[in-house]
Symmetry: C2
Subunit: 126 residues, 2 copies
DNA sequence: CATCGACATAACCATACTGTTATATAACCA
DNA sequence: TGGTTATATAACAGTATGGTTATGTCGATG
């Protein structure tokens, strides 16, 4: 259920998808409405939506033949939390650096070697 | 110079790269030292470092035959800033929602249609 | 029922990503 | 000089990504 940071960040790495999220922040809307401002086919938008959905960043409803799209903020919050833990670094707050270092070592800091071997992306804890 | 959010988020979407950043938060270090905990060849790490470097997330020094890697926090701060603007959404702070909507419309909110045409990823303002 | 509108799916293409092994480069060291 | 260490680069392979066009599906509606 909780999509990893991998998926979230990957979804956010595309400007079209970020624009879609920005649009959705204004409120739930339809695929057609989302597609309109882009110079892109409708299926392309559907694909982007699927990516966002798999990342848990949007959810879909049902309204007759329409499939309203709604923003889901939770993964954003998680990504934010990850970034937040580095805040001390760009704020050069050395008093907070200790806390940061502790946290990083506990969290993702010194993980067991991700053993991708053949797989594409090493799984991490959810 | 300022790598777009595209590049930053893409760089963050990989767990190996996030682990590298976490390690670098503890301080500057060498490629070999970075590679050690991973079950991955040295060239693979070099490639990841190149991705991080292109994203402006790390910078390289020179110490004899060593190429020490240092974390650069600025892109993290920028990504954080982007996420931050959505904070109201996951905090359900409706008083902040107005500010959010204003900001989104000014920023990336309702962008001119990204016209990818043939190109891979529509460029956005730096 | 026939069709339209909104959307999803399929098949396809080009390019990018992530890993590999093998090899090159560059600085130090005996 | 010749070897070793640290890192980069090249060539290759498999999968993923982001777009396309064509077609399918489902619900509303004349």
């Amino acid at each position: 259920m909780a999509p990893a940071l991998d998926t979230t960040f990957a979804a956010l790495a595309d400007p079209t998808r970020r624009a879609i999220l920005a649009r959705l922040a204004l409120g739930e809307t339809t695929v057609m409405d989302l597609a309109r401002p882009f110079d892109m086919s409708q299926p392309a938008i559907s694909k982007h939506l699927k990516v966002l959905e798999r990342a848990g960043l949007v959810s879909r409803g049902r309204d007759a033949q329409r499939r309203p799209v709604r923003l889901e903020a939770k993964p954003l919050a998680e990504a934010n939390q990850w970034l937040e833990s580095y805040r001390a670094l760009w704020e050069a707050r050395f008093d907070r650096l200790d806390a940061l270092l502790q946290k990083l070592q506990a969290d993702e800091g010194a993980p067991l070697p991700p053993k991708p071997g053949r797989g594409r992306k090493p799984k991490e804890q959810t």
